[in-house]
């Protein structure tokens, strides 16, 4: 069964460093998303992406964040200058009809 994959599973970085989180959505899906979940809190929306452009972004998704689909399979989230409060699980998702499928997540730890 096709699934969303994410790499790395765990990323440790120092405050101020850039990180790139990678996702491979399910191949025939057209809408892609990034969500994050701070430990003990709700899953919250960051950004949606369709037809090679951002369709919606949340207040969290400020100028430090960017997304890209560099080729036909990968979907990346870049954080330019990480802060301590960026520590969270980051989930990629893609959609088929009404069903959003999530990847296993990347745990980002900012020290």
């Amino acid at each position: 069964e096709p699934e969303v994959t994410q790499t790395p599973s765990h990323q440790v970085t120092q405050m101020g460093q850039e990180v790139i989180l990678r996702c491979v959505p399910i191949s025939n899906h057209l809408y892609f998303y990034w969500y994050r979940q701070i430990l003990g809190q709700k899953v919250e929306f960051l950004v949606s992406f369709y037809n090679n452009e951002i369709s919606e972004k949340s207040e969290i998704f400020d100028d430090q964040f960017s997304v890209e689909r560099p080729d036909g399979s990968n979907f990346t989230l870049k954080i330019r200058s990480t802060k301590l409060e960026d520590s969270a699980m980051y989930f990629c998702a893609s959609i088929s009809f009404y069903e959003q499928y999530f990847g296993p997540g990347t745990r980002l730890t900012v020290t």
């Binding site: 709700k42 899953v43 949340s58 699980m89 998702a93 009404y98 959003q100 745990r107």
Partner: protein, 112 residues
């Protein structure tokens, strides 16, 4: 933005029990509802989605939507220890391809 609310639990039941998990929502624009299961430090796994009011059954799981009272339920029959997880309800904000608004999740523990 408390548009989808859940009792965080934890909810502890004996193996074989029928489990009832509930959500309420405030936005009448929500038309679709999803239930996800999330194991600790893993991604949400889609269990079911529903569109209209009424029941939808899939194996041991039944999702129920009452749009008149803005109430969503997930029933698990013959619960198993492997069902122990956090259950999240979610609704897309606007159309079906829009961002999902999640509840806080209910932590379920099924005791063998």
């Amino acid at each position: 933005q408390k548009e989808v609310e859940q009792d965080p639990g934890p909810l502890s039941v004996p193996e074989g029990a029928i489990v009832s998990l509930n959500c309420t929502y405030s936005n009448s624009a929500f038309q679709y509802f999803m239930w996800y299961r999330q194991y600790s430090r893993k991604g949400p796994e889609l269990l079911m989605y529903t569109y209209s009011s009424g029941n939808k059954e899939d194996g041991r799981f039944t999702a129920q939507v009452d749009k008149s009272s803005k109430y969503i339920s997930l029933f698990i029959r013959d619960s198993q220890p492997s069902d122990s997880a956090t259950y999240l309800c979610a609704a897309p904000y606007g159309g079906a391809t829009n961002k999902l608004i999640f509840g806080t999740g209910t932590l379920l523990a099924v005791q063998p």
